[in-house]
Amino acid sequence: MKKIILSLTLATALLSSAFTYAADSEPGLKVKQAFNSEFTQVKNVEWTTMGKEGVYQAKFMFNNETLQAFFTEEGEFLGTTRQISKSQLPILVATTLEKEYSNAKVITIFEYSKKDGLDYYITLTTSKGASVIKATGNGELSVFKKNADK
């Protein structure tokens, strides 16, 4: 249950500019060890904590892209997020999006990689307003949030 809450928290966080982060929050040894185990050879990590959820966020460069990785206080790796372009979407997501939302304008796309799965969160606008669409790699789309902040 805690994992579901954390997962939703992360998904909400990456879609909301209103989410509160506490800057310069150095994590404990467990979190740092977990980070180094997941991301070898990464330097210059910027750590923050997210709200009161007890989740640490590491922001860093990997393969010339900015990534965010998330860990619990106990050092459990929750997943990573990164902003991507339409050209980085899997083929089935891109084709389904263009069929079902042909008149929409894509604003942002986030990839959310967890240990057990991969989702995409696509913020788009139509004449009816803004929405956030959640997509699986196999091109299954569902509305995650309607009338979202752009």
Binding site: T40, N63, K115, L118
Partner: protein, 147 residues
């Protein structure tokens, strides 16, 4: 089913390098219609015909794709040759951790109507390894051979 999927994948890659009859061939209505329904935003489409297949090369989201159809208009698969930075993060991290010292010679995504996989071929001085990922998070070894 998994074996069939990979066989189709590798078959399509081989087809990509095999002799096609010629570019910009006329395609029948079924195939052209199926293509237009599936790839609504395709640009710069060119067709080639093999013995029993049609191949469409086109641009979508500024990326070059190749789609294969039967003469009845059934989509066999779509291939997207890609850069390693276009892979999902977990797959990039896994390659860096477990195959440090290897270099990539081939990387593509294969999509069918309801499933997709990534394939990467890696070399080092001694061996060639082909990995497959169907879930976008973990790799499995598809083949391994000594040089």
């Amino acid at each position: 089913m998994k074996k069939l999927m990979t066989a189709i994948a590798l078959g399509l890659v081989l087809m990509a390098n095999s002799a096609f009859a010629g570019k910009n061939e006329n395609v029948n209505y079924k195939v052209e219609n199926a293509f237009k329904q599936e790839f609504t935003q395709a640009k710069e489409v060119s067709w080639e015909k093999a013995n029993n297949y049609y191949r469409a090369a086109f641009k979508m989201n500024d990326e070059i794709m190749t789609a294969y159809f039967t003469p009845d208009g059934e989509l066999m698969g779509v291939i997207h040759n890609m850069l390693s930075t276009q892979l999902p993060v977990n797959l990039q991290v896994s390659l860096k951790k477990e195959y440090d010292g290897y270099w990539i010679t081939e990387l593509f995504e294969l999509a069918k109507t309801d499933s997709h996989s990534y394939f990467v071929t890696l070399h080092n001085a001694d061996q060639v390894v082909t990995l497959q990922s169907s879930d976008g998070t973990t790799w499995s070894v598809y083949s391994k051979a000594k040089k």
